[in-house]
Amino acid sequence: MSFFDYPSETPAAPADPVDVLLADASDAEWTTLLGHTRQHRFDPGEAVMAEGDQDRSLYLVLEGQLEVLAPRGRRGAYRKIASVAAGSVIGELAFFDGGARSAMVKAATPAVLAEMSPASFDALAADSPALARQLLFDLGRILARRLRAAQSAPNGGEN
């Protein structure tokens, strides 16, 4: 939602198909993939990750809402900078580069996340290489699109 969803507008197309991870994967493939993840339940307020953490897991938000918090001021207060809904992926940057987590993420509602650690990804790659390749390829494609968008934004779409 934005502030300017005019009532006369029909819903825009759902998520741009190219931004969806594994849009074409079948139920069976998802079952395989999720079989290689560990599911975690979070209660509201429980931290999923804190900034500075070094773990490299990729998380799929299956249920619930998360909030992304950034430190604000010197007294250790946090400010909400984004919220993440069910059906999103978080932690994809650290999954690739191993860098520290850039923000604190907490559950805003009861949430269920599927965690894919580098080790479980290796297991998936051994088990069904095609699916793992597709996963990596999709993540890469989406990150590339983001990069492209970031590059082209300042001068109005030239690239």
Binding site: F4, S8, G87, P110
Partner: protein
């Protein structure tokens, strides 16, 4: 959904572009054809490759026999295909995306929820204290100082309004008609000024430069919405739209892109020219003003909504946006009825955030000109007033000197930003406040002298109060703008800045299925099984899968949704008694189920949406009263038809006459609102085939009125002159809409909506007279259905509710609030404590006067103020009638052999007017009329009334008690997402479920709650604990075991 389909074309090497498909378009390397053409420079594309053809309901695509073909969503197509929302067609390296519909109707669906939605979910569990009527939560009272502070800074939204309300969500104080009057006056005044400048140049210049111009900025500053409503240019701009002759074109790209720059250029250009030219030349000023209003008018005639002038290139727009960003007084826009979504970040749509949204826009081409304007303003104003007193200065000199001031001001702005790191919104606010302070430093003097000229009172000191007030307001305004900027950031922070990666919804489904095994259901014809959650009804599943299916009562009674179970019937819940009766009445094959109540328990199941014809069965009835030769049923609604059905079942020989005043065979009365806005007329509403009457040897007298009942002679006279003898008579005449006690009701344009003919008449009338506005009296179920239907038809609808909330008799206050919020967002207006007194208009309705004296303009007045049983015939015959025909538990009236059922019958002092109950009563009346079952008279068992509201974009269900009484407990769970509200409430009394309310599409909870409340299920401590954890499935198990006797 009506409107223009919008596609996005993505070609290699070019930025994507959006195209409104208003006419057929041909795509190719050398497209020919008579319509529009899109030339693609791609060798893999044929010369004439494909054609897109729009219609109001679909966008069709046809491949013109191209060499390399066209793929839609990855599949090669042949022949015509419909491009659904979100489809991608690929030809060569070019992609065509179907991205949406743009039209002048609000969509039937609620506002979309973006994939990375902003919903925040809160589960609230509140045991009601055992105190009687629970007062609204006594919130901690803030101290008066805090309240005052909050009010001054605008930190607290007005009661009942969101933080940044859209104009549809604000309280409307003046009716549209009054605004029209004011606008006509303002245009007349404007034209008078233009003329006056020729006749009395000095006078005209005085009024324009010394009165109007000095007053406008303070108006923009304090109540910008007022000016947006009364501006004569806006009135001229919107006149073509109000009169319906605008071409409503989409403005060209350059206008959308450079509109802000054009308006800024015009503003500074005209103002500078004033010093050396317009100040001296009254004719010049008159010509300028005349051209301006002409321009506004032409722009309104050409372009859609306000996109041609008011919201794009009006020279005063940059001022209004900058100064109107934190209004002290909000006045909702009354031009846009309805909103057509014509501009980006529309100021009139959501005034308090439009400018913030501009400044935060990620596209610098959008935000930079707006910053530039404000950054230049203080210097420009100062320069203007320093130069204006120099007589004899030449025009080029004016421009040059002003340019220096302009650049100085801009430079200072960016220097301050660079040095202090102040946020843009704050710098902008400070610059704007400075500019207005400078303006009134000088204009205070002007106003004081104008005051002296007009009144003759010399009061040069007046300049000071003007200056001080403006400075004080300016300081307060900066603070308010700062607070609002913070709030805006808080609110928008909820939106991810970068696109978050989405996983396909399949993942969630799979994960859930791993936890709770679902079932597979296949709809015949699609060939693809779909997953259904356990407990889901086939109707809900079919609707989710967009299968063509009708829905009626959703309780298995009306018979709107029979389906054939081709396979796996045992995987569904067993039919209950209501459903069995309906199935028997419909008489389809044995594998038929009512989709709304057949719930999936396991799989796999295969369902065909078309039921199979049944084989006539030899009647099993052996004993029946042969003395009964003729039974007459007055009424062809659900009670009458059910009665006829049971009569035939219980008596294979007697004549059965069904007399119906309407000209249709039995139809789904609950679906008639669709006749107002849908194009499919009666199709799908008929619940029985015409053949049914013949098959059951029932004589149907359609379009026939009964005129008299003669009890002594046992005869019913028909108005056609025929006479029907009866041995048994069943009265099922139903009810009519109550005529409201409104003077002039009955005039053309005033309607009720009870029968199919009423609904079709409304649609016909609205088209014939080009109706634009409607008032619906009554905020109950029928009123809201009517209001929604009229809204869908494209009318601007206001609902009048006598009480303080919507559907007050069926749902609790929170539900009413959710409902109100939903309707307000759709653009419906609701007036509370409003009762209509009289209809205005000669011959045709033009408006309605309320009891409090207000008048609302409307072309259609729809009354939905309750029902009145059609009991006159019975009363005249001497049958005991109170409000309805009085019946006992056996549906007997005061006269032997005469029974009554349905909406005409008053049972236990109650007139419930509900389908399932009417059906049950029809059955009881018929069985007892024939002497009962096995000599045993049948009695009506108590029913728990339920209310269902669907089809208005929000699902609302309530059964039994909705408010807690003394000592009762309530369990409430709510997800506070304004765009997809979900709310559940269970009322528990004496440890048993006695009432439930569900908002949101949650069929499983509805089913569980219905069963629990119907059986007055015991809510054990375990169940209570589950419910409090949000696990409402627990209710299903509680509802399954009926505990104790139903009350």
């Amino acid at each position: 959904m009506a409107g223009t389909p919008v596609i996005e074309i993505r070609e290699p090497g070019r930025p994507p572009r959006r195209v409104h498909v208003e006419r057929a378009i041909e795509f190719g390397r050398q497209p020919a054809g008579d319509g529009e053409a899109v030339v693609l420079d791609d060798l893999a594309v044929s010369r004439r490759h494909l054609r897109l053809v729009p219609s109001p309901v679909a966008l069709s695509m046809v491949d013109l026999g191209s060499a390399n073909g066209t793929m839609v969503n990855g599949r090669r197509v042949t022949g015509r295909v419909v491009l659904e929302l979100g489809s991608v067609a690929r030809l060569g390296q070019t992609e065509i995306l179907m991205v949406g519909w743009e039209g002048d109707r609000a969509p039937a669906v609620p506002a979309p929820r973006s994939p990375a939605g902003t919903a925040t979910v809160a589960v609230a569990i509140m045991p009601t204290p055992p105190a009687p009527p629970r007062p609204p939560a006594p919130a901690r009272r803030p101290s008066p100082a805090a309240t005052l502070w909050g009010w001054l800074l605008g930190t607290v939204p007005r009661a009942g309004e969101p933080l940044f309300p859209a104009y549809t969500e604000m309280r409307r104080r003046l009716p549209i008609r009054a605004w029209h009057g004011i606008r006509i006056a303002s245009v007349v005044a404007y034209l008078a000024l233009c003329a006056g400048l020729w006749i009395r140049p000095a006078g005209g210049q005085f009024w324009f430069f010394k009165v109007i111009v000095p007053l406008l900025p303070i108006l923009f500053f304090t109540a910008p919405g007022l000016w947006r409503n009364i501006c004569p240019l806006a009135a001229a701009n919107q006149a073509p739209r109000v009169r319906g002759f605008t071409k409503a074109l989409i403005p060209p790209d350059w206008l959308r892109r450079y509109g802000a720059l054009i308006s800024i250029f015009l503003f500074f250009g005209i103002t500078s020219t004033r010093i050396a030219f317009f100040n001296a030349s009254a004719p010049g000023l008159s010509i300028l003003l005349s051209l301006t209003i002409l321009n506004a008018f032409v722009a309104g005639w050409m372009f859609k909504g306000k996109s041609g002038w008011c919201s794009s290139i009006c020279p005063l727009l940059p001022l209004q946006r900058a100064y109107g960003q934190t209004p002290f007084a909000k006045v909702p826009n009354s031009h846009c009825q309805p909103c057509v979504g014509c501009t980006k970040n529309c100021y009139d749509f959501r005034p308090s955030v439009a400018y913030q949204a501009d400044l935060h826009d990620p596209d610098p081409q959008w935000s930079a000109p707006r910053k530039l304007f404000v950054s230049a303003l203080p210097g420009f104003v100062l320069g203007f007033f320093l130069l204006v007193s120099h007589p004899g200065i030449t025009l080029p000199e004016v421009y040059l000197r002003l340019a220096a001031f302009f650049l100085g001001s801009v430079g200072l702005f960016y220097a301050v930003q660079a040095l202090t790191g102040l946020e843009t919104t704050i710098t902008v606010a400070v610059w704007a406040a400075t500019a207005i302070s400078i303006f009134y430093w000088y204009s205070g003097v002007t106003l004081a002298s104008s005051f002296a000229t007009i009144t003759g009172i010399q009061a040069a000191w007046l300049a000071w109060p003007v200056r001080v007030v403006v400075w004080a307001l300016a300081l307060l305004w900066i603070a308010r703008t700062y607070v609002k900027g913070r709030q805006y950031e808080e609110e928008t922070a909820a939106r991810p800045a970068l696109p978050v990666i989405q996983i396909s919804p399949r993942a969630k489904k799979v994960a859930q299925q791993a936890a709770s095994p679902g079932a597979e259901v296949t709809f015949a014809g699609t060939g693809k099984p779909v997953k259904a959650e356990v407990g889901m009804s086939l109707l809900a599943l079919a609707e989710r899968e967009k299968q063509p299916i009708e829905a009626g009562c959703r309780m298995g009674v009306c018979g709107a949704d029979p389906v054939a179970i081709m396979q796996g019937g045992g995987c569904l819940t067993r039919p209950d008694e209501d459903e069995q009766n309906t199935l028997r009445r419909l008489g389809f094959a044995d594998n038929t189920r009512m989709a709304c109540v057949a719930r999936v328990q396991s799989g796999p199941v295969t369902v065909a949406l078309k039921p199979e014809p049944g084989t006539p069965k030899a009647s099993a009835v052996t004993a029946y009263d042969r003395s009964i030769v003729s039974v007459v049923v007055l009424g062809n609604g659900i009670a009458g038809v059910t009665a006829a059905d049971f009569l035939r079942r219980g008596h294979p020989e007697c004549e059965i006459h069904v007399v119906g005043a309407e000209s249709h065979v039995h139809y789904n009365r609950m679906g008639i609102s669709r006749l107002v806005f849908g194009r499919s007329a009666m199709q799908g509403l008929y619940l029985l085939p015409e053949q049914w009457y013949d098959d059951h040897q029932v004589v149907a007298w359609l379009n026939t009125r009964a005129s008299r009942i003669d009890i002594a002679a046992k005869q019913v006279s028909l108005a056609t002159g025929d006479t029907l003898h009866y041995d048994r008579l069943i009265l099922a005449m139903g009810a009519s809409s109550a005529r409201p006690p409104v003077d002039g009701f009955g005039r053309d344009g005033s309607f009720v909506m009870r029968a199919a003919a009423d609904a079709m008449a409304i649609r016909a009338y609205a088209q014939e007279h080009g109706c634009r506005t409607a008032v619906v009296a009554g905020g109950g179920l029928l009123g809201l259905e009517g209001a929604h239907a009229l809204h869908e038809l494209g009318l601007d609808v206001t609902v009048l509710e006598r009480g303080g909330r919507l559907m007050g008799k069926q749902v609790d206050e929170r539900c009413s609030e959710l409902l109100h919020g939903h309707l307000a967002r759709m653009g419906l207006h609701v007036e509370y404590r409003a009762e209509s007194q009289a209809l205005a208009g000669e011959g045709r309705v033009t408006g309605v006067t309320l009891k409090d004296g207000r008048t609302l303009g409307c072309d259609i007045f729809l009354a939905a103020v309750g029902n009145r049983p059609n009991a006159d015939l019975a009363r005249d015959a001497g049958i005991a009638v109170n409000r309805g025909v009085i019946v006992n538990d056996r549906m007997q009236t005061s006269v032997p052999h005469v029974y009554a059922a349905g909406d005409v019958a008053e049972h236990d002092g109650m007139l419930l007017g509900l389908w399932p109950i009417a059906a049950k009563q029809g059955e009881v009346a018929a069985v007892n009329a024939l002497g009962g079952l096995a000599g045993q008279q049948m009695s009506l068992t108590a029913e728990v009334p339920a209310t269902i509201l669907t089809g208005v974009g929000i699902d609302l269900f309530s059964i039994g008690q909705f408010a807690a009484g003394e000592g009762d407990t309530t369990i409430v769970a709510e997800e506070r997402d304004p765009y997809d509200p979900s709310y559940r409430k269970l009322v528990i009394s004496g440890g048993r479920a006695v009432g439930a309310t569900v908002v949101g599409n949650d069929p499983e909870v509805v089913a569980a709650a219905t069963a629990a409340v119907k059986n007055r299920a015991e809510v054990t401590r375990q169940v209570l604990a589950d419910l409090r954890r949000g696990e409402w499935a627990a209710l299903r198990d509680a509802g399954r075991a009926p505990a104790g006797n139903p009350a």
